[in-house]
């Protein structure tokens, strides 16, 4: 694309179109339905709960559903939305017009980011509602136990949703990076799940190499570990108490970390996609 300058408007149009296309997908409905069912059904799983206070258990189920189904949705939707444009040749038509490849690819990323934002907002809202209703019931049953008012910090619940979204955006950017050079959608999906596992468990691998005392292992572990974000950092919302809310500075850093990785992976995806033959 030469001549026309980079346009955020065109990027926005691609994002809008990506989102519109995504919400029509049955895949989204399936994962959303499963996640909603799990959040709503968390109360019926109380019988299997031994240790955690009930509200914390419900919150765990809700955030677990967000992570599991959100990750599956993000990887599958990103790969599908990208490859459908390639396979249906719509990308060819689009890029023949004055549209930058960067606008196309980053538009896809923003579209998926909006999709995951809707997913996380919906589930976080539903989780907060379930917690609110159950907390009200518990307060009525045991007023003494809630002498100080409500125990759940809903700011903490919102923070949990925000961190989940950051993770999903980073995951989408990495899936897009793989898709930018992959030949098949299946390869991109498999690599996306691989990235998910690496990002969650890389710290354990690095520690294992360090303990083993192998210099080569430590060097390779450090190198590969440094190339992937640590998703465990973005799970700080572990408690429901207002006292455990991270400081605003920490939140800014976590947000910068998540968005920084998404931007880096997104820009590298653009770099790779620019050299791709469509």
């Amino acid at each position: 694309m030469k001549g026309a300058p980079f346009s955020f408007l065109r990027l926005g149009l691609v994002a809008q179109n990506t989102l519109r296309e995504a919400v029509r997908q049955r895949l989204l409905h399936l994962f959303l339905g499963l996640a909603l069912a799990l959040v709503l059904g968390a109360r019926s799983l109380r019988d299997f709960n031994f240790g955690a206070p009930e509200l914390k258990f419900i919150a765990d189920c809700g955030f677990g559903a967000m992570t599991l189904f959100g990750s599956a949705l993000t990887i599958a939707a990103t790969a599908q939305l990208f490859f459908s444009e390639i396979e249906n040749r719509t990308a060819l038509t689009l890029l023949a017009k004055p549209v930058w490849r960067a606008e196309f690819l980053l538009g896809k990323l923003v579209g998926v980011a909006l999709l995951t934002a809707l997913f996380c907002a919906l589930l976080t809202g539903l989780l907060a509602a379930v917690l609110w209703v159950r907390e009200g019931e518990l307060m009525a049953l045991d007023p003494e136990g809630f002498r100080g008012g409500r125990a759940v910090s809903y700011a903490m619940v919102a923070l949990g949703g925000w961190l989940q979204w950051l993770r999903l955006v980073v995951l989408a950017a990495f899936t897009l990076l793989v898709a930018s050079f992959a030949r098949t959608q299946v390869f991109a999906v498999v690599c996306g799940f691989g990235v998910l596992v690496i990002c969650h468990l890389q710290h354990l691998a690095q520690e294992a190499y360090t303990r083993a005392g192998s210099a080569v292992g430590v060097a390779l572990g450090g190198l590969f570990g440094g190339m992937f974000p640590n998703f465990q950092v973005l799970s700080l919302a572990d408690s429901l108490a207002a006292a455990d809310l991270p400081a605003p500075g920490t939140m800014v850093r976590l947000t910068a970390y998540g968005l920084g990785w998404a931007l880096a992976a997104g820009l590298l995806a653009v770099l790779s996609f620019r050299r791709r033959e469509i």
């Binding site: 709960n49 031994f50 914390k56 998910l196 570990g225 991270p246 850093r253």
Partner: protein, 259 residues
């Protein structure tokens, strides 16, 4: 081919550079989180846990995974499988260290059930020499106390953990002085129930430390609210009088409550 390799190297270099720039942003929150969460460290329990921890770490279903593992632990407990029960008990506290319930019950199993199983497996209480029984009790109590120590790192303000430690010292190790020290720690925790303070005095008295018991009761009595029946202020005063009589405290030195 050359161009693809160059691109792959460029992408890797870009990711490594991003990692170098972004990692320092979260170094401190990550350090704090790892200190709090055993599942995020490569500890023996985590290494042995396999899929359970992986699911908990990947999926976020920590409470559910811990509950499922707790049920698995009970299946082994019913079969009196020492190794399996202990492995699952430690797994549960690793995956989800937040509920005190898991720590307490795991410690109780180690301290109370395991010695009984080991002694019965060795021929029963009549066949196993008393010295061996004592050694088994000591070893299992030590394992339970070590677990409670780990629990306190996660729950420094838990009264229940100190009370359990005191009970193990008292009932398994037969060491009332260690129990008294643990009850004192329990009493120092926020929202400690009043009975903890009374128990400390009682174990001191049983250990023959009546003067210490008296001093302790005199120390706590002013802090006991008379309106609260659970505080047992009257009962404590009665015990003070009994101890003063037993110790022959002169009339001029007897305890006189301010109120």
């Amino acid at each position: 081919m050359k161009s693809r390799l160059g691109l792959a190297l460029l992408v890797c270099a870009g990711l490594a550079l991003a990692g170098q720039v972004l990692a320092p942003l979260v170094a401190e929150p990550w350090r704090q989180r790892r200190e709090r969460e055993p599942a995020l460290r490569l500890e023996p329990g985590v290494a042995a846990a396999g899929q359970g921890v992986t699911l908990a770490l990947l999926g976020g279903f920590r409470a559910l995974v811990a509950d499922a593992a707790w049920i698995q632990m009970y299946a082994r407990w019913e079969r009196r499988d020492l190794a399996g029960t202990e492995a699952f008990a430690r797994l549960v506290t690793t995956v989800d260290p937040r509920p005190v319930y898991f720590w307490l019950n795991a410690a109780r199993i180690l301290a109370y059930d395991f010695p009984a199983w080991r002694i019965e497996a060795a021929g029963g209480y009549d066949a196993v020499p008393a010295a061996v029984q004592r050694a088994v009790n000591e070893a299992q109590a030590a394992a339970a106390l070590e677990l409670l120590g780990a629990a306190r790192q996660r729950h420094p303000d838990s009264v229940d953990l100190w009370v359990e430690e005191a009970n193990i010292h008292l009932n398994r190790r037969g060491d009332p002085l260690a129990a008294a020290a643990a009850y004192r720690e329990a009493w120092a925790r926020p929202r400690a129930p009043f009975y903890v303070a009374r128990l400390r005095a009682e174990v001191l008295r049983r250990a023959g430390k009546r003067a210490e018991a008296l001093a302790w009761l005199r120390e706590i009595h002013p802090a006991l609210p008379e309106a609260d029946l659970g505080a047992g202020a009257e009962l404590v005063l009665q015990r003070i009088r009994e101890l003063e009589a037993e110790l022959g405290v002169p009339a001029g030195d007897v305890y006189r409550p301010d109120r």
